[in-house]
């Protein structure tokens, strides 16, 4: 295999991979910490290093709207945003998925204002959980890169036709230099053939897109979306196997880490898993039976895989960078809700961690595990609150 290992900033790795996916139309609006991705892409267009067109829109709302048009006209499309930009896209997110347009977008994860914060958490993408988009979360920059062609292939499958967002933690991944293997163009071409949609805006075959549905038919449209998302579960597995054959790297909807004999299973998504792995290694040295279940695909939701991974645990701990205000974290709620009807149900507790970019250290994770072991953890709590300023 001719893949070359390079030391790249995460944003650059994303931009290079987007180029290798032979995207036709890019449309994006700058916002920290997503800016390097779109600047890199704009430079590639300016240098003639890609055939893609870059639409210099006046807002995120128009960025995604332009892709709705471009995708309906048969183009492979790409955008990237974060936080406030994603919130501004809210209406278009549902529209794109409802029209079954396989747009792919990198969502750089950043907290939402107020208070204004440019730093990382995952409140933005978790808040659009129900928008009908596939959501994939990367732990490191090899994953941010690899998940893009996988996302295109799943999204564009004729049985799926759902938009997909590849989520990467702001700054932690976007601005970090890591060794990344950018896939060779010929291999990407082999893995990801050009987009050939069945239905396009074409005067030779005039079709109506985006008609309105009265109560006699609306639910069936929604059901079909739901059904496609369920099918995306197996499609992801299938596509990941093809990816492994071509590129040699293995992916699944979840990744298990030292979980076989684990009594305590930690669950999370994104770059924090790297720190958690280091913490688990240290805990294991001290004889603690701790393991990790990393969620890569939040939608489709890998319920069965989570169940298999946690059913024999003594306790499950969900760590996440979001909160449904007044309730608990979104991932925690999702996991508890499908586990409720199962026979083997270990206790599940959850922590909101690292909101607004608060650092989460190996020590924090070890402390949290020991708190859970002492049975002192609440059902849900915020980690490392500075109580003295409250």
């Amino acid at each position: 295999m001719m893949n070359e290992m390079q030391i790249l900033e995460g944003s650059k790795a994303v931009a290079l991979t987007v180029r290798s996916c032979r995207v036709d139309v890019i449309s994006a609006y700058p916002i920290t910490p997503q800016t390097h991705i779109v600047e890199d892409l704009a430079q590639m267009v300016a240098d003639g290093e890609t055939d893609a067109e870059y639409i210099k829109v006046e807002s995120e709302f128009s960025a995604l709207s332009a892709l709705v048009g471009a995708s309906a006209a048969g183009a492979r499309t790409y955008s990237s945003t974060t936080s406030q930009g994603l919130a501004l896209m809210f209406e278009v997110l549902f529209n794109a998925s409802g029209m079954r347009l396989p747009i792919v977008m990198t969502t750089v994860n950043r907290s939402l204002s107020a208070p204004l914060s440019i730093w990382n958490d995952q409140q933005d993408s978790i808040s659009v959980r129900d928008a009908g988009w596939i959501q994939l979360y990367a732990e490191n920059n090899q994953e941010t890169s690899d998940l893009l062609p996988i996302a295109y292939k799943v999204a564009e499958d004729k049985d799926i036709l759902l938009p997909a967002m590849c989520c990467m933690d702001g700054f932690v991944l976007t601005h970090t230099f890591e060794p990344v293997e950018i896939p060779e163009q010929s291999l990407v071409d082999e893995f990801l053939p050009s987009y050939q949609p069945k239905y396009v805006l074409d005067p030779k075959n005039p079709l109506t897109f985006g008609a309105y549905a009265d109560p006699s038919i609306y639910m069936e449209f929604r059901y079909q979306q739901h059904d496609a998302m369920l099918k995306a579960y197996e499609k992801f597995e299938e596509v990941a196997k093809e990816f492994e054959k071509v590129f040699g790297r293995k992916y699944d909807l979840v990744e298990e880490y030292k979980i076989e004999d684990a009594e305590i299973v930690l669950i999370s998504m994104g770059s924090i898993v790297g720190t958690m792995k280091d913490a688990v290694d240290e805990l294991r040295k001290g004889g603690e039976k701790v393991g990790i279940l990393k969620i890569i695909s939040y939608r489709p939701f890998p319920a069965e895989k989570i169940y298999e991974a946690i059913k024999d645990a003594k306790v499950v701990v969900v760590l996440e960078k979001d909160v449904s205000v007044g309730m608990e974290g979104g991932l925690l709620s999702d996991i508890k809700s499908f586990m409720y009807n199962r026979e083997d149900r270990p206790p599940i507790v959850g922590f909101s961690v690292g909101l607004g970019g608060r650092d989460v250290t190996i020590g924090d994770i070890k402390g949290l595990v020991s708190k859970v072991k002492r049975a002192e953890a609440e059902e849900f709590e915020f980690l490392n609150l500075r109580r003295e300023v409250l």
């Binding site: 709705v68 006209a73 183009a75 529209n95 005067p203 985006g210 008609a211 309105y212 549905a213």
Partner: protein, 287 residues
């Protein structure tokens, strides 16, 4: 196949489908149309039916110009050629969609944006828009004990469009069908963003008898309340002259939305007449 078929559900006498057919008459089969949410979308595309004989897409209320930008760009990348048009209401154009419209103009997309101007949000029940004329009673600018209706003049959207330096801006009225076809044809020959605003009377919202649509569409022009002109590369190049300008009352008195002016607010009719006079002066309409 007809490009815009009978059987749509617009009210009898609606000016909007007249405008749509004329626009498509000018742009022809090789067109792709984007429409925002509004009366046109709702009366022409109730699933699984569609009145459209050209490819058509509706996304949202405020993003038609951006969707059209994306379509035009995709066609360019794919090496395909078609006339990309937006046909949308005044609310979608001059209010909620103006950001996307401004972006489309500024980026120079080769799109013809047609606004059918019925001077209010008709689809949701005749609420005022930025395009609602001074003195009209709409459901969110109603005439009342302390109100003579809309108290701000109609937004000058063609001037806003022209200020972007786009090559072609025009106004038209369904009272003059050939003029619409001619202007759309002309627009298609010009590369870049084009903006055409067409007055399309709404019997339901303006409260007049559906048989008088064309008469009102002409009167709006003949009173100089809706001047018809072309702006090419920033210069006014053509205006529709009025032989004998009619007093605004003749137009206002036929419509329920202005009825209150003839009771307590007669002085407002004079204000409206002055606006018409100013239009005539500005565009040199008389003669």
């Amino acid at each position: 196949m007809s490009l815009f078929a009978q059987g749509h559900t617009a009210c009898g006498g609606c000016g909007m489908p007249i405008a749509v057919k004329l626009v498509l008459g000018g742009s022809g089969e090789n067109s792709i149309v984007v429409s925002p949410t509004g009366c046109l979308e709702v009366t022409s595309t109730r699933y699984p039916q569609s009145a459209w004989g050209v490819p058509w897409i509706h996304s949202l209320f405020e993003n038609a110009a951006a969707v059209a930008s994306g379509i035009e760009t995709a066609l360019k990348v794919k090496g395909k050629k078609a006339n990309v048009l937006v046909i949308g209401g005044d609310g979608a154009t001059v209010d909620i969609g103006i950001r996307a419209l401004s972006g489309m103009f500024e980026r120079g997309h080769n799109v013809t944006y047609v606004c059918y101007d019925n001077e209010a949000y008709m689809n949701t029940g005749v609420q005022r828009s930025g395009s609602t004329p001074y003195g009209a009673s709409a459901t969110t600018s109603p005439a009342g004990k302390l109100s003579f209706g809309e108290d701000k003049p109609k937004k000058d959207t063609p001037a806003i469009a022209a200020a972007h330096g786009i090559p072609y801006v025009a106004t038209a009225s369904v009272g003059y069908p050939k003029d619409i076809v001619k202007k759309v044809k002309k627009a298609q020959e010009i590369v870049g963003p084009k903006y055409i605003q067409i007055l399309a009377p709404c019997p339901t919202g303006w409260r007049f008898d559906g048989s008088k649509t064309i008469k009102l569409a002409k009167l709006a022009v003949e009173t100089a309340l809706f001047p018809v002109y072309e702006i090419e590369n920033g210069e006014i190049t053509k205006v529709k002259k009025i032989k004998e300008r009619k007093p605004v009352e003749e137009y206002l008195k036929l419509q329920g939305r202005f009825k209150h002016l003839f009771k307590e607010n007669k002085d407002q009719i004079e204000v409206i007449q002055k606006m018409a006079d100013a239009n005539a002066e500005k565009f040199g309409l008389d003669g």
